[in-house]
Assembly symmetry: C2
Homo-oligomer: 477 residues x 2
């Protein structure tokens, strides 16, 4: 392919992409293929000779598209979203073409300095403490791992980096029973051991009980453990519960424990003045993560990680081989020392495009719409005699379940709701997922996809009712 | 922005990108801005109101472009490349639009199954052991971390994941003095401690001396240490030295030690039959990484990680919260359990586009051209009386230095070569980097950029001679 052919193909691709967004509602939201169906259509061996883009794109349409679950469909209400948006896609096109690898300032001064500035913008937009410093990680998993490692090194005076764990290291990490699974993963990676992750009980709203935390810390200290880090959540994955950040922060501060706050999904809501009270107590946090790739219309991946003391972070990850030594070292941010990976894509560009194209007001407008859609849905659930709300609706997630005729048998209810979820997702008309809250099987419906409107939520609610009625009539109850 | 406006903007972007590639040689390869120059032009606060794409793109041209180091320029000879190519950019456009998040099969069956198949293609193309299983990681740093963690868990019967390090754990890792810095970083992250990374001496060609490795292992065993992992390199970062893989493999096999092979840059060369002898002994390896984003014309990031036993890898990373439980679990690859991050982009698509658009023959042709360009340059250096070759030229990297008039003062030579490098890079006409080999400051010139041709290497060699002559005439010698 030469540059002229590339130009023609890039125009075709621009149309293909715009067509996709124009007709996205015509695809089944959740891919309907069976395991193995895609791979069976892909040749076992790679082609020896070049193939035309026409052939490749024909196979894309025929083989790949049926295996796509449409995260960008406004009928996608599953998990948390991984949103794109028009300005973000444009930025990603440009990013791909520039092919920057911003491991150090010198290899892309624009990437380094734009990252510094957009992270300041995000800090200001969210009203985060003004002495925090930000860096883009790929995912919240990576941000959390960075937090745990920095906490580990701070607590041991950078001894584990140097000497490894020794017999005197009995380190403990704390989070609630509702905290995201990435914490456990990071605890294992960093060598703490899963048994040293202490899970604290939650209250009726699924928020960590601070008194229980303090008890656990004191008990561990008496038993010779060193409490290293507490993870609080603003918006858990199960139900977007908010832990009492200020109370936890004060406990951490009193005991000299690293306080990491995971606001991966819900953190974007702090942009709204009416939601900003959830940030109370963040001044006690040592590190904080939220993912613009979830609810801020920026292509996955883009995780915003903030720390109070960037020197601690850099000391944790720093390496300096000869081939990476530069004259500008010390005057600039060489972001390779701010996380696990050496190589780094130019992720700041899409954040810049999104923030400027929407404007802060435009982002607020979208967030308010999403929250109001969730409130509307929660109202419908509350008024319904067949459904019940299973957790407070704080942001744009509604946790509910079907409970026809006031059935009390929990096992039966779990079964019925599982059946309802499967039928709904098999329709291709929407995509929901589930969780368990207090052992109860619960449907999770998120109204936070970039281009979701009232019509999609209304249609979803109507379909949920119809599908439930169908199960009712089938006599399965 | 609505979808019609997006369509128009996407076409404009297609032209902007094609223009970029058409005129890429007109930009200074290495950005010529000073630290702080970009950020000073970026507003301190984000915009309240939406801005037009016209304004955003105008600022992109005015503020961002001068801060771009042009990794995609055929005059980029620094570090190792992070190559793009036309089909790769097209795939990235599509990837951005689809906005897949392939953490589990269900969230993108196409992403999961295409990944499985293209990894099989890469395995076949490179002639890697047919019983290996592949997975895409972001970078070699992440692949290496996965290797060290799996080695750690295998050696301890998955005890550290569960209980953390205990007093009985005296674990050791081995690599050569020339091995990449990502090993040290991973050793620290995984909790081994930098002091437990044993660096083995290299021979005159900068390859690990296997007898020294065996001695170190025996010494450690006698001292009560448990050797856990050895890292061998096919193509070190300094000089693309190749460690004796078969000999190291046999030692690892004899002592029951995990053997990880880092072929991040040079691994792509195994596609060539005439280079395939470097794969000898790979059957002893437990894990292996090479980066198609370096020398296989596929946008950063795309690191190909292969393991002999995927169950070990999965057991190392596995987590299974309720909200990620699916009916297809066990029948499909849920790649969230194959590495650090939970969320995953659809990286297989660009590999599929690149392999099909180039064809295996097309990739071979490019690799052979790049290797022949390096050979041509090495010949020029060898014939020159003013320059000397500093390491064997095995792939597409030439390590050389300027040594005018047979100067013997090493400090003076280091100074002169540093000066030469700075002048070359300040010209904006090419971008080289340096390393130190045996304490000597050495220029590294890579001829592996996707669209590099003989004319670029000839021009570079000419400029190097001219710049050296200029320094000569300035009397600095």
């Amino acid at each position: 392919m030469n540059v002229n052919e590339f130009r023609a193909e890039a125009h075709k691709m621009a149309d293909r992409i715009a067509d996709y967004y124009e007709n996205i509602s015509e695809y089944p939201v959740k891919s309907q293929v069976m395991p193995g169906e895609i791979i069976a259509q892909l040749p076992v061996s790679p082609p020896e000779h070049p193939e035309s883009m026409t052939n490749i794109m024909a196979d894309f349409e025929r083989i790949i598209m049926p295996g796509i679950t449409h995260w960008q469909s406004p009928a996608f209400h599953a998990f948390f979203p991984a949103n794109s948006s028009y300005p973000s896609v444009l930025a990603e096109m440009l990013t791909a073409a520039l092919g920057q690898q911003g491991m150090i300032w010198e290899t892309s001064p624009a990437a380094a300095e734009l990252e510094e500035r957009v992270m300041e913008w995000l800090r200001e937009m969210c009203g985060l403490p003004s002495n925090w410093t930000g860096v883009i990680q790929d995912t919240a998993s990576a941000s959390t791992l960075a937090a745990l490692l920095t906490a580990r090194e701070k607590a041991t005076g950078f001894r584990i980096n140097e000497e490894g764990f020794t017999s005197s290291d009995k380190l403990r990490i704390y989070c609630s029973t509702e905290t995201h699974s990435s914490i456990e993963k990071a605890v294992k990676i960093a060598g703490f051991g899963r048994k040293n992750l202490v899970k604290i009980a939650v209250d009726q709203d699924f928020a960590l009980i601070p008194e229980e935390l303090e008890k656990a810390i004191m008990k561990d200290k008496n038993a010779g453990f060193l409490p290293v880090c507490v993870i609080g959540s603003i918006g858990t994955t199960g139900s977007t519960a908010v832990d009492p950040i200020e109370k936890i922060g004060k406990i951490c501060s009193a005991y000299g424990i690293w306080f990491h706050v995971d606001a991966a999904f819900s953190g974007t809501a702090l942009i709204l003045p009416e939601m900003h009270h959830f940030a109370n107590g963040l001044e006690y946090a040592d590190s904080y993560v939220f993912n613009p790739h979830k609810w801020m219309f920026t292509n996955f991946d883009a995780s915003a990680y903030f720390v109070r003391d960037p020197e601690m972070l850099i000391r944790t990850f720093e390496i300096l081989p000869e081939y990476l030594k530069t004259k500008t070292r010390g005057q600039v941010n060489d972001y390779r020392d701010w996380g696990v990976a050496l190589g780094r894509r130019f992720r700041a560009l899409k954040l810049w495009f999104v923030i400027r194209s929407f404007g802060v007001d435009g982002i607020k407008e979208k967030l308010r719409k999403h929250i109001s859609l969730a409130q509307w849905l929660a109202g419908k659930v509350l008024k319904s005699e067949e459904f019940e709300l299973m957790a407070p609706v704080t942001f744009s997630l509604v946790c509910f379940r079907w409970r026809p005729g006031g059935i009390d048998d929990e096992e039966k209810l779990n079964e019925l709701n599982q059946r309802l979820l499967n039928d709904l997702n098999a329709s291709g008309k929407l995509y929901l997922t589930h969780t368990k809250l207090n052992g109860k099987y619960v449907l999770r419906m998120v109204s936070a996809q970039t281009y979701v409107e009232m019509e999609h939520i209304e249609a979803a609610w109507k379909l949920i009712g119809e599908m439930a009625e169908k199960i009712n009539l089938s006599g399965i109850r």
